[in-house]
Every structure is written in C-alpha cells, then in structure tokens.
Symmetry: C2
Subunit: 196 residues, 2 copies
DNA sequence: GAAAAATCCAACCGCAACGTTGGATTTGGT
DNA sequence: ACCAAATCCAACGTTGCGGTTGGATTTTTC
C-alpha cells in the first residue's frame, strides 16, 4: 500500500470529528481518536499539533461543509421557509455540527476560524438586508437578528434534544417530519411580510 | 457558630452551580467546588453522593427557580411577546441555567428530575393548546412545538453567544435591549393570530 | 542499493482528578 | 459531664490523560 498522507490526515480528522462531537473537547482523549482511526496516536501531534488545535481544525472544517451544502438561495429568500427547512435537514443529517458548535461556545476558548466566519455572517446579514429592502422579507426584525433566529429555529431542536423529547415525545419518523414542517412555518411567520 | 447543615448544603450547592455552569461536568473538579464554598471537599460526598448526582441536583434546582420566577401568564398568553421577553430577561439575569441545560444535553447522561420536568412541559403544552382553542394564539403550529420554539427564541442567544457576537457585534447595553425587542417581536409573529 | 520520509510501537514523565479513609477537633443535646 | 453528630485535615490509592521520545519498520524516491 502506497503512502497516503492525505488519507491519513483525513481519517484522523474524521475520527476526531466523531469523538469531539460525541464527548466534547474535555471528554475526548487523543488515544481514543487514534484508536478509532486505526492510526498511531503519535501521528495526531505531527499532523495537527495539540488537542485544542485539532478541535479548531475539525470545527472550521465542518462549518465549511455546511456553508457549501446550504448556500443562501438565489431567489433572495423569497422562500425563506424552505431555506430554514433545508438548514434543518442538514443538521438532521449531520448532528455533529451543532454539538461541536455548542461545545465551542461552552468551553469559551478561542473561536475557531473566527475571521472567515465573521465575514461569512456579514455577507449573510447583507443578503437578508437586501431582501428586506426588496420587500421580499419583512423589516420588522433587524437583518442580523433575523439571520440569527432563523439559524436558531433550525438548530434548537438538535441543541437540546432531551428537552425536545420531553415536550414532544420520542422523535420517530413522523415527529421528525412534523418538526421540519414547524420550522418551515415558523421561519415564514417570522420573516415574511404580512398585513397585521 | 452554631451548626448550620442547611447553610453548608446550600453553600456547597451554590458553588457547584457556578462551577458546573462555567466548566461543565467534565471540566469541574470536586476540589474546586469545595474550595469555592470554603468547605472541606469531603463534605460534598456526604451531602450529595458523587459528582453526577451533584450535577443533577444542581440542575433540577435551577429549573425549579426558573419555573417559579417566570410562571405562565394568567391572561393565557394574550401577550405572548412579553412572556417571551420575560423568559429572555430571566436567562439574561441567570446565564447559568442555559449552560447547565446544554451541558446536560451534550453529556447525554441521565436526564435530571425527568418526571417532574416532563409533567411541567405537559402542563405548558396544555396551556398553549387552550390558548389556541380560545383564539388567543394561532393554531398554525402545534402547541408543543410552539412552546419549544418560544423557549428557543429566548434561550438561543445564550446558547451560542459567540455566534451571536459574530452576527451582531459585542452585546453592550443597547444591543441587549435590541435583542430583547427582537425576541418579543419574533414571539408575537410566531404565535399571534393574523390575517395573511 | 542508499537515503529520506512516513508510520508504528512502547514506554515514559508529570500531573491532576475521583473518591475514600482514619483520625483530630469542634459543637450540640441531654 | 458525656455522647453523638458535624466538620476539618491530610494523606492515600488508583486511574487516566496529554504530550514526548527513541528507536524499529516500512515505503518511496533517486
């Protein structure tokens, strides 16, 4: 088998993603990551530095994937509900991400990849503002807050799943669909113009 | 000084609340809790058992305080916006609680005080359902999901403060007021009946 | 075939944490 | 005065983790 340094790096990062999402930065051990990847623990340090750096790499990577998978719609949020729905779908398919995000916020350490993320959210806010000026979205709520709350509507379900469970019962197939529908409706009600 | 076992218990619990909220179950050490309380570490075990049990006690206690401080309004959610605003205010004044809740969800261990909490949420859902039947709230979204999302609108700001910061800038006094206003408006738009 | 790079392996250091224990000391009740 | 309960104190055993290191082994490259 040929040397495959990119593959090694990727396998380590994937294992780290799973472990970090599951147990958090504190609960995760470098030995477990290596074991899960089937690669010697010592490789981790050569490739990623220490644990904190590895965590930041993992999180930055996963955020990139989200941004690539759920781009802001070309219609300028004309169908904001479906946009929120697609965000919900992404989180449902990749529950790692929200968990990593929460671990990061709770730990209170450095914010991974902060410059890029800030720029990304600036663009997003601009897009919302443009949609408001165009009359596609209501301007009842400031664009940055609207962006933040739309994210929240989708992600909240995966942020406190035990609370969701106590309120709604176990989330089987039908409950999952029901939740998605609620997210879509809530986003519409929150952001679409209406007469009141 | 007289023996004050209740006071000892309370001081330990308060110290534990601060530490657990700040660093989470993993990051918190029993020694630090005792040190913060100014009480010998060994007392913790006599009073609360092990670390996990202490954490559950702390969380159950803080949830009781929230329920006592922000009761469902007597007007049956006629002013749902202000109700969400008061919830936001409580979280702003007691940022411990959301953090404890998130640590619990992420850790994935046993749910503290599950029976009482489930009952509490059942009642809450019933109250929302009644308000919907009375025409005070829109029935566009199922009552359990509405309750869950209203909680989310208030708590999301404190769940991912670093994300909020990247979107809105630092949260000084004015930003704080702005956020509260957005929560109030969002809750109204989400739940109040309107013609569309 | 030799040198260089990637990987594995195993052991190590230092440290910090959980939970316990055995006793000394203080306080309260009777 | 005496006994029981609450507290303090200091040390312990054990476990586990982060990060490093020195070398053996395999693969690539030239």
């Amino acid at each position: 088998m040929a040397w495959d340094t990119e593959g090694t790096r990727r396998r380590l990062k994937e294992a780290a993603t799973v472990e970090f999402a599951e147990r958090g930065p504190d609960g995760t051990t470098m030995a477990r990551i290596a074991e899960r990847a089937g690669i010697n623990k010592e490789r981790l340090y050569k490739y990623f530095g220490d644990k904190q750096a590895l965590f930041e790499t993992v999180l930055a990577d996963e955020l990139q994937k989200l941004a690539a998978s759920v781009p802001p719609p070309e219609d300028g949020f004309a169908n904001i509900g479906e946009f929120a729905g697609r965000t919900y779908d992404y989180h449902a398919a990749h529950p790692h991400l929200v968990r990593l995000l929460l671990w990061e916020g709770l730990a209170g350490g450095p914010v991974a990849d902060e410059a890029n993320r800030t720029a990304h959210y600036r663009d997003k806010t601009r897009a919302y503002a443009a949609a408001q000026r165009a009359g596609i979205l209501d301007d009842d709520v400031d664009p940055d807050h609207m962006a933040f709350m739309i994210i929240g509507l989708s992600a909240w379900w995966f942020s406190v799943p035990h609370l969701a469970g106590m309120l709604t019962g176990a989330d089987d197939q039908t409950e999952h669909a029901r939740r998605r529908a609620s997210v879509v409706r809530a986003a519409q009600r929150l952001a679409r113009p209406h007469l009141d």
